[in-house]
């Protein structure tokens, strides 16, 4: 692996580049897009393993942290969906430059999946394929779930802690600042609105039971000829949920294997 910083001096991003371990044909490349907050911490080891498996299968891989998250520059309050989509585009350019690939696939988990779908809808020429792994289907629903999770305590429901206005306001969510600006952006997020512009080669992977909002996604997929092949449910422990009080998530090997297999 090759850990490094890229981007601009004002917006330094931390990435880990894993070159393909198998040569042949024109180079293939994939950018992995992390979830946000605690889900990022928990899913890190699954994303690392996925990167290694893809590299072994002959894909150049770049994993990276959005600005204000992980090892990247910036504070936790600097985050925003629009700017994070810009970070994905920066990572795409970096990976194409490094690997020589003319196009990249985007593989996103949870919020990272929805951001990847947004980028794919705008950079159609450069995005060869899209994997949406347990995507956030509705930003409002995601917010509601976060708030509900935060308030669940053994002693009973407790309202999430509000943050000071001078620090961006909003609430503390499981150790991460969910600023008012980020919450407002999330409320407008809808995956189904992005589906019509998704690449022809798109895979949606779900590790849990269908949710009500999955119906919106399926409805959006109905208009696509390849819709029947796009959604798969692989029953597995979600990588983004805490496993046995360890602070980290489980590694759903079957899910990772399916993603690698789909790359072919």
């Amino acid at each position: 692996v090759n850990p490094f910083y890229f981007g601009t001096p004002q917006r330094r991003l931390f990435g880990v580049y894993t070159p393909a371990r198998k040569a042949g044909g024109s180079p293939r490349a994939a950018v992995l897009c992390y979830p946000w907050g605690q889900e990022y911490i928990r899913a890190h080891r699954s994303m690392r393993l996925l990167g290694n498996m893809l590299a072994t299968a002959g894909v150049h891989v770049l994993r990276f942290d959005y600005f204000g998250t992980g090892d990247s520059g910036g504070d936790g309050t600097d985050g925003g969906l629009k700017s994070w989509c810009g970070d994905i585009e920066t990572a795409m350019d970096e990976l194409m430059d490094t690997s020589g690939a003319g196009k990249v696939a985007l593989v996103g988990l949870r919020l990272g999946a929805t951001l990847a779908a947004d980028v794919a809808s705008r950079r159609k020429r450069e995005v060869s394929a899209l994997v949406l792994w347990d995507p956030v289907l509705s930003g409002q629903q995601y917010l509601d779930e976060l708030m509900q999770t935060v308030s669940m305590r053994p002693s009973g429901p407790v309202p999430p802690t509000p943050r000071r206005d001078k620090s961006g306001g909003g609430h503390e969510v499981l150790g991460f600042p969910l600023t008012r600006t980020l919450a407002d952006e999330l409320r407008g997020l809808s995956l189904s609105s992005l589906i019509p512009a998704a690449p022809a080669r798109t895979l949606v992977l779900l590790s849990a039971e269908d949710r009500p909002s999955s119906a919106d996604l399926r409805a959006a997929l109905q208009d696509r000829a390849e819709s029947s092949e796009m959604v798969e449910r692989i029953v597995s422990q979600p990588a983004w949920l805490e496993d046995r009080n360890s602070g980290a998530g489980a590694v759903p090997v079957r899910m990772l294997q399916r993603i690698v297999q789909w790359f072919g």
Partner: protein, 296 residues
């Protein structure tokens, strides 16, 4: 992020298989400050729970000292070791290699180690074995339960009316079943680290702490209320190891309202401020010798 610091990615260790990030003051390090190495907390990668290690590294670097955060072998982005060392030996070997890297690249022979949970345990074992370690910040380290622990543990619960009802209910139930009574909220057998009550383990840990004290390692121990099933008063570490002469080498701070991973922003900020203040104000071994070769 402050423009006074610079973050760089690094591959370190004998096989260049350990992934880390070093955070440095742009204007150079303060002459007398030791460098800092932050260890993993459990299997969470080097950013730490709630990104706490990143924020701590930046605060310390802003105060004038270089900080390395890195992943132990098999954790985060670091590859597993190629040798067949047992897990603890593997971690200790990684820490030594990280210290070597700091010495060779940053020309610093004095280091403060910082760790939470398993990171603190690694430091407790390693700290006294390497003369380059001059300071240790142990956040929620493992320690045996003491008489003082049990007095507080049961005392607090017996003061709660609800516990009395529970106890009375259990007594009635047990009377009917002809079974011995069970005290309320007894620590369960599957609590983590039961082996700490083993005299051999207690003796080993005590010897490691004594080695650190003998080597002049200054220690800051932070205990949280989030671990009150394991430690519940500031002096428990001293009471647990009565044969260790901690003296004034140990400072203990108790964060009663904080959970184990400092989820609350205010508690996290208070912890970081405390560690920075302690690092700046503590007189570490070798300070007057100015042997580091760090630039002013």
């Amino acid at each position: 992020m402050s423009s006074r610091i610079l973050e760089q990615a690094a591959l370190l260790g004998s096989r260049k298989s350990l992934v880390g990030v070093v955070t440095s003051p742009v204007q150079g390090s303060r002459v007398n400050l030791p460098a800092v190495v932050i260890l993993n907390a459990g299997i969470v990668h080097r950013t730490g729970p709630n990104r706490m290690s990143v924020l701590l590294a930046r605060a310390l670097a802003s105060a004038g000292t270089p900080v390395l955060r890195f992943d132990l072998s098999g954790i985060g982005d670091s590859e597993p070791r190629a040798d067949s060392l047992p897990p603890l030996d593997s971690s200790l070997a990684d820490i030594r290699e990280a210290m070597d890297w700091m010495e060779s690249t940053r020309r610093t022979r004095r280091v403060v180690l910082i760790g939470l949970c398993s990171g603190a345990d690694h430091i407790a074992v390693y700290g006294g074995s390497d003369p380059r370690v001059v300071g240790a910040v142990l956040i929620d380290p493992s320690m045996p339960r003491t008489t003082g622990f049990y007095l507080r543990h049961y005392g607090r619960r017996l003061l709660r009316l609800r516990s009395w009802f529970t106890l009375v209910g259990r007594l009635k139930s047990d009377f009917r079943k002809d079974k011995p009574a069970v005290a309320p909220d007894t620590p369960t057998p599957d609590d983590p680290l039961p082996s700490l009550d083993d005299p051999a383990v207690r003796g080993y840990l005590g010897a490691r702490y004594q080695s650190a004290v003998d080597n002049g390692v200054r220690m800051l121990t932070v205990l949280t209320g989030g671990r009150e099933n394991l430690h519940n008063y500031p002096n428990q570490l001293v009471d647990a190891f009565p044969n260790v002469s901690f003296g004034d080498s140990l400072r203990v701070e108790y964060f009663g309202d904080a959970d184990h991973t400092f989820d609350a922003e205010d508690e996290r900020t208070r912890l970081i401020d405390l560690i920075v203040e302690w690092t700046l104000q503590t007189e570490f071994a070798g300070e007057s010798a100015r042997a580091d070769g760090q630039s002013a």
